[in-house]
């Protein structure tokens, strides 16, 4: 293997020798530059590979043939080699990205680029303090030079501001270096001795050295200069600046602080966290894409700085965590900058142009997911390990701030992604060409490869090696196929998976699996309606199903969490597909991530740092002091998914604006994941009390409130899908209440809701979606009288609402019966009132749904409508058949579950004999009920037929009132504000308290961002003053800390 010094020598030698060529032969020159960068990358990659596989040992390179500290030495271990690969590859791709500018400005600019890559590599390798300084200055100068490649005239001002700050940094650095030298008698980094954070001597020198290196990392607020560069420089260069220079600078801080001792780490942590959170807050208000990326870059650097500050508790995982975060950041940020060179406009909305190239959307999604730390990318694994270590070390505040920052970051990144998917795309807004696309895809491939590598880490659960995840990825590759073919494959995949795993599940898990996997396949039948290729649908849907499948398979905390995030991400993309769903998808992903972070923290708290930790191990902490906190965190996460009142505001929009076949997926299926989590948690943790309050009681209250308020809000909706969405909140409230009762029948009730809610909500969403496909409106008062035109849809809505309202003989009644038996045992009285109130209110909105759509007066524009597409009806009819069968034979699904729950609680309150069920308190004979009702109904019907057998349909307006004959359906169809009297009495419950609360939270954060960003006045001198202020402030605080 060749020596890594060659990376430096080749870079430098090529830069020098470019001057020997004729300047006019630009293509040859550029070819040489690329070749040099390629060879450098090859060397770096070769070393990375050799070190990773153990084929090589860490290379200690002595220059001048003399051992350190007397001559400069270099070191290439695994982290160095990985960084070198990152740097040289980024350099190579950046050169390609900047090809036009490099060719225009000729060999000088190419030499500068080569030197920059060389210097950044040198920065990583060198072990000498002063050599560090030389490389830093080389980078500064080269940066100032490459900024000029930009066509943007403002870049000149930015470059000058950058030089001004570099001067200040170099002054501090030199003073720090020379006094460190004086103190240790050596310039070698390994000779730096442990120095306490102190007010004088070696410590002060160390402080100056460190702070200068930290300022290189563009910490908030001393980073105006860097942001200007990001905004105005050529994006190809910005990628290099962010990915390569930034990562190398981080490594330098790490390199220097490691020997100085752990006492310095809190300093890094503090600065890093401040920078991370504040930069992200400021970024919220940013509208320029590259400046946004700039804020995000400085934020990410802050995050990793904070992680460096945790190296004392990360132990062996340190490299894995920090490396995962650095590489995620670097790959994603570089990729985004390179993409930005293809987007013509500079506003975030202009990225909508990406839609014209579907693979670009995939790239964008990949990068956003990488930055936020979602699976299957390295940042995700890193975040998990970080959280575990932080909680185990008792650094919960650090974790909280990090997660807060990530949440804010995801807010603007996903908002941006939403713009790209949903906003008006400018004509010709994308300058796509093979080279830039190639660069982007090389980066995307790198990201996925890293994801796989990180998943392959020691004792790690590799998401990308699981069958469901692979299937989802395969569906990305299948995108060019026709939607119908893909749909068939998707259904086959789901059923195949279910057939494979179903045998191993306990009855409860089996019910969830049946709802989630084959249940999903049934809903997918409706997708046969869609023509064309339906880009983006199948990968997203299959990702969601993969997440669900893995969730059921999960045996450890990590597997559960990973599955949870995959599911969230997939469903986000699905929801975003809806026509008006941009803001709703955003709030969905934010709430989901917030919830996921609560789960993450909860798991970390429970595991105490032990990895991998089995889910069944949760019961070991049930008796510990922290158990209630674990309970609270996990419950908060799961309740976000079930959209409990207070955390629900994402749901109505997300479910209502989704596509016809997506709404049932996210409503009928996805919500069950939260219930599944709650079951798992309660099974392990049992009842917990916090400050004397039984938390299951709190859950019961939340469930009851959700059940009631969800129903009341549903009553007041004019939009059919919104109505159904609010109804889901209410239904999940019931289920939550059942779970929280913590008795056998309560759980059985919840299981019943899992099945029933899936069936009737999917059915209703499909029916309403079918109607929407024909009428193109979701506003119920604009419809009416559709019963004769869409009889099948009507039947499914009819059966759906009967089942849902709990009227015998359909299966909803079974739920009510179990409910009454369950509450007989419970000592909870007050929340019951709300549940009792919710029941009849449910009747209100259900009647409204069927009446205003299907009954009443048919509107003129609708006279020629046809029945909904047949593929939308097929699943509905399956559901109708199932509901009737389930109503008569509830035992087919429930008896086994009942037995299983009995094994948990150790009781068996229900006795199943034949078709009848008896409990301690009452009895229920579904067959008899059905028989009696059918008999009576048929008898009465026969009487009516006998009398009025020849009745004929009369015309629409053959009705009389107030001595007039009405003639306009619009004025005759009583539909808008249908429950006006109810609104008069109960309308106060509609006050959007929760919405205003969350609006206030986001408004406050946005306001803070708007206020803070005024700090960046654009004046280079002010920026320099910020740097000085930053240094002095940190100095005072650090010294105040020790005093």
């Amino acid at each position: 293997m060749v020596s890594p010094v060659l990376i430096l020598a080749i870079g430098l030698g090529t830069a020098f020798s470019l001057g020997l060529m004729k300047p006019a032969r630009t293509r040859v020159l550029f070819g040489i530059t690329l070749t040099a960068l390629g060879v450098m990358s090859a060397i770096a990659l070769g070393w990375t590979l050799a070190l990773a596989t153990g084929a090589a040992q860490t290379a200690e390179i002595h220059t001048a043939g003399v051992a350190p500290p007397f001559a400069i030495n270099l070191r290439v271990g695994l982290p160095e080699a990985a960084l070198l690969s990152l740097i040289t590859l980024t350099g190579l791709l950046a050169a390609l990205s900047m090809r036009a500018a490099l060719l225009r400005l000729g060999r000088g600019s190419q030499a500068v680029l080569l030197v920059l890559v060389m210097a950044v590599s040198g920065l990583v390798m060198t072990r000498d303090l002063f050599n560090l300084f030389v490389f830093i200055e080389l980078i500064a100068i080269a940066t100032a030079g490459l900024v000029l490649l930009s066509q943007d005239e403002r870049a000149i001002g930015a470059g000058f501001k950058y030089l001004v700050v570099s001067q200040i940094i170099s002054i501090l650095l030199l003073v720090g270096i020379i006094f460190t030298y004086h103190a240790t008698g050596s310039l070698n980094i390994d000779d730096i001795t442990v120095a306490p954070v102190a007010f004088r001597g070696a410590s002060l020198a160390m402080f100056l050295l460190l702070i200068a290196l930290i300022v290189e990392l563009k910490p908030f607020p001393a980073n105006g200069w860097a942001l200007d560069i990001y905004t105005s420089a050529h994006p190809g260069f910005s990628a290099l600046f962010s990915a390569a220079t930034g990562s190398a600078a981080l490594f330098v801080v790490d390199k220097v602080v490691a020997p100085a001792g752990t006492e310095w780490l809190p300093l890094l942590t503090g600065i890093g966290l401040l920078s991370f959170v504040a930069s992200n807050i400021v970024a919220l208000r940013q509208e320029n894409d590259r400046r946004l990326l700039g804020y995000s870059s400085v934020g990410q650097l802050g995050l990793i700085l904070a992680v460096i500050g945790q190296r004392d508790v990360l132990g062996d995982a340190y490299l894995y965590v920090a490396g995962g975060l650095i590489l995620s950041h670097a790959v994603a940020k570089a990729g985004l900058f390179w993409m930005s060179s293809m987007v013509r406009g500079r506003k975030l909305e202009d990225w909508a142009a990406l839609r014209t190239r579907a693979p670009m959307v995939l790239a964008f999604a990949t990068f956003v997911a990488m930055l936020v730390g979602l699976p299957p990318f390295p940042g995700f694994y890193a975040k998990w390990d970080l959280a575990q270590a932080l909680v185990a070390a008792g650094r919960l505040p650090v974790l909280t701030l990090i997660l807060l920052g990530v949440l804010i970051e995801s807010a603007y990144l996903f908002r941006w992604f939403g713009y790209a998917i949903k906003r008006e795309a400018a004509e010709n807004g994308l300058a796509s060409n093979p080279v830039d696309c190639g660069i982007t895809f090389a980066t995307v491939a790198g990201g996925w490869a890293l994801g796989y590598l990180w998943g392959n880490g020691p004792e790690q659960f590799n998401l990308l090696a699981t069958l469901p995840a692979i299937t989802a990825v395969v569906f990305i590759l299948l995108e060019p196929l026709d939607a119908r073919i893909k749909n068939g494959l998707a259904i086959a995949a789901l059923l195949g998976w279910f057939a494979m795993v179903a045998g191993d599940y306990d009855p409860m898990r089996l019910i969830f699996a049946a709802v989630m996997i084959p249940g999903g396949a049934v809903i997918l039948l409706a997708s046969f309606t869609e023509k064309g290729r339906r880009l983006g649908f199948y990968p997203s849907a299959m990702a969601m199903y993969a997440g669900l499948a893995l969730l059921l398979e999960a045996t450890t905390f990590f597997e559960f969490f990973a599955a949870w995030e995959v599911m969230t991400l997939g469903s986000y993309f699905l929801i975003l597909r809806g026509r008006m769903s941009e803001p709703h998808a955003l709030s969905y992903i934010l709430f989901s991530l917030g919830g996921a972070f609560a789960i993450l923290t909860g798991f970390a708290l429970a595991s105490g740092g032990v990895q991998p930790h089995p889910i069944d191990g949760l019961q070991d902490v049930a008796a510990a002091d922290l158990a209630p906190w674990v309970f609270v965190l996990l419950a908060a996460g799961f309740l976000t998914k079930t959209a409990a009142m207070g955390l629900h505001i994402w749901l109505p929009g997300a479910h209502a604006e989704a596509e016809t076949d997506v709404s049932p997926m996210v409503s009928g299926i996805l919500l069950k994941a939260g219930l599944f989590g709650l079951f798992l948690m309660l099974m392990q943790l049992g009842r917990q009390s916090l400050y004397g309050v039984d938390l299951t009681v709190v859950l019961a209250y939340i469930g009851a409130i959700s059940a009631f308020l969800g129903a009341v809000l549903a009553v007041f909706q004019e939009d059919a899908k919104r109505l159904l969405a609010y109804s889901s909140i209410s239904q999940m409230g019931y289920a939550l209440f059942g779970v929280a009762l913590m008795n056998h029948l309560g759980w059985l009730l919840a299981m019943m809701f899992v099945i029933n809610h899936y069936v009737y909500k999917s059915m209703l969403f499909l029916a309403v979606g079918g109607v929407y496909k024909r009428t193109h409106t979701k506003l119920m008062y604009q419809m009416g009288g559709l019963i004769t035109l869409m009889p099948f849809s009507f039947v499914s809505v009819l059966v759906g609402i009967i089942a849902m309202s709990g009227v015998p003989p359909l299966s909803g009644f079974g739920g009510r019966w179990i409910f009454y038996n369950a509450i007989m045992d419970a000592d909870l009285r007050l929340p019951l009132i709300l549940i009792f109130m919710a029941g009849p209110v449910g009747f209100l909105y259900l009647f409204r749904l069927i009446h205003t759509i299907f009954l009443g007066q048919l509107k003129d524009p609708h006279r020629k409508l046809k029945e909904a597409p047949v593929w939308i009806l097929v699943p509905q009819m399956i559901f109708v058949a199932f509901l009737i069968a389930f109503a008569v034979l509830p035992g087919m699904a429930l008896q086994k579950v009942d037995g299983y729950i009995g094994s948990i609680f150790g009781d068996q309150p229900l006795v199943w004999h034949g078709r009848a069920i008896t409990s301690e308190f009452g009895y229920w004979n579904p067959v008899a009920i059905m028989a009696v009702i059918v008999m009576v109904f048929v008898a009465v019907f026969a009487i009516l037929i006998a009398k009025n057998h020849d009745a004929q349909m009369v015309k629409q307006f053959n009705i009389v009132f107030s001595a007039e004959r009405p003639y306009r359906p619009e004025t005759t169809h009583f539909a808008w504000n249908f429950f006006a009297p109810y609104r008069k009495a109960m309308g106060f419950l509609e006050t959007p308290v929760v919405t205003s609360f969350w609006g206030g939270v986001t408004g406050g954060i946005n306001g803070a961002g708007e206020f803070t960003r005024r700090f960046y006045s654009g004046n280079g001198q002010t920026y320099a003053a910020h740097v000085l202020l930053f240094v002095v402030a940190v100095y005072l605080i650090a010294m105040g800390g020790i005093a």
């Binding site: 019966w817 009747f843 009954l855 308190f921 008899a928 005759t972």
Partner: protein, 301 residues
């Protein structure tokens, strides 16, 4: 309890008795109300005349399938309710099909007819039908609440959901009635009873005197006949439930007749002397008075 074929003629007999009782009693009540107002009122057989007349009429008019089925649902709801509740405690034959389900079944089956009726009326396209349904549903959400609470209270009190067992628990003297063992629950339930019997002050749903509002607006002939049949038996069916739950049930048909009549008179008397509430007023009324009593009932069990 299991099914035997003999139960079918028994149940039909019960049904027949209750139908006649309902027809007569409603007429009597109407006559009483008229006399209170200084009018002569209808003859007691008037309901039979109406019913026979309407059954004799045939109609060629239909507004659609649901319109056609509306009265069927309605009457099925009424008959079914009677069939699912045991009428006479201790009687060997007047137990109907109570083995199919317990109190919960009765409570939820009440909605069956209402729903079907509302759907049928809705298809007629008459706005007054829809307005009536809107009012009725809005009102019933609150009116039924005290009953639900009261039922829960007594179910907990007697530790059973079986109507027969609840009645059994009240045997052995006046003071074993729920009325005395759990007066709060009974008061709460009576709020619901008065509120759902479609009498003043809670009858704005049908607004029977002024303009025809409410579900039956567009129904006539045999359709109306089915509904009139239901109107005769449904209140009785409901009264039976109240009687069984709160007033000791009935051990004989005579006891049944008296208790049903007295219970039925409660809303009738209140209706005669009270003006009508608007829907939001009645909702607030139940919220203010019915709900707290119900809450007290479940808290004090």
């Amino acid at each position: 309890m299991t099914f035997e074929w003999i139960q079918i003629p028994y149940a039909l007999l019960t049904l027949f008795i209750i139908l006649n009782y309902g027809l007569l009693m409603t007429a009597v009540v109407r006559k009483l109300a008229a006399r209170v107002g200084g009018r002569p009122g209808i003859p007691v057989y008037q309901n039979y005349i109406d019913l026979v007349k309407n059954f004799a009429l045939r109609s060629k008019i239909s507004h659609g399938v649901m319109y056609y089925l509306g009265p069927v649902f309605r009457l099925t709801g009424g008959i079914g309710l009677i069939l699912f509740v045991p009428t006479i405690y201790g009687s060997s034959w007047a137990q109907n099909f109570a083995f199919a389900g317990d109190l919960v079944l009765a409570l939820y089956f009440v909605f069956f007819g209402t729903l079907g009726m509302a759907l049928g009326a809705g298809e007629s396209g008459h706005p007054h039908s829809a307005i009536g349904v809107s009012r009725g549903l809005s009102q019933v959400t609150m009116a039924e609440l005290p009953l639900a609470l009261a039922v829960y209270a007594i179910a907990v009190q007697y530790q059973t959901l079986s109507i027969t067992e609840i009645v059994a628990a009240q045997q052995g003297g006046l003071f074993n009635w729920t009325l005395f063992t759990n007066p709060l629950a009974v008061v709460a339930a009576m709020f619901a009873f008065v509120g759902t019997m479609m009498r003043s002050p809670f009858d704005v749903v049908l607004a029977p005197q002024e303009i025809p509002i409410g579900p039956p607006t567009e129904y006539h002939s045999a359709y109306l006949a089915l509904m009139q049949t239901n109107r005769a038996i449904f209140p009785i069916a409901k009264t039976i439930i109240y009687m069984n739950l709160f007033f000791g049930g009935a051990t004989s048909w005579a006891e049944f007749a008296i208790k049903a009549f007295l219970l039925y008179m409660i809303p009738a008397v209140i209706g005669v002397v009270h003006p009508r509430f608007r829907v939001e007023q009645s909702i607030r009324f139940f919220l203010k008075w019915g709900l707290p009593v119900g809450v007290l009932a479940i808290l004090t069990v």
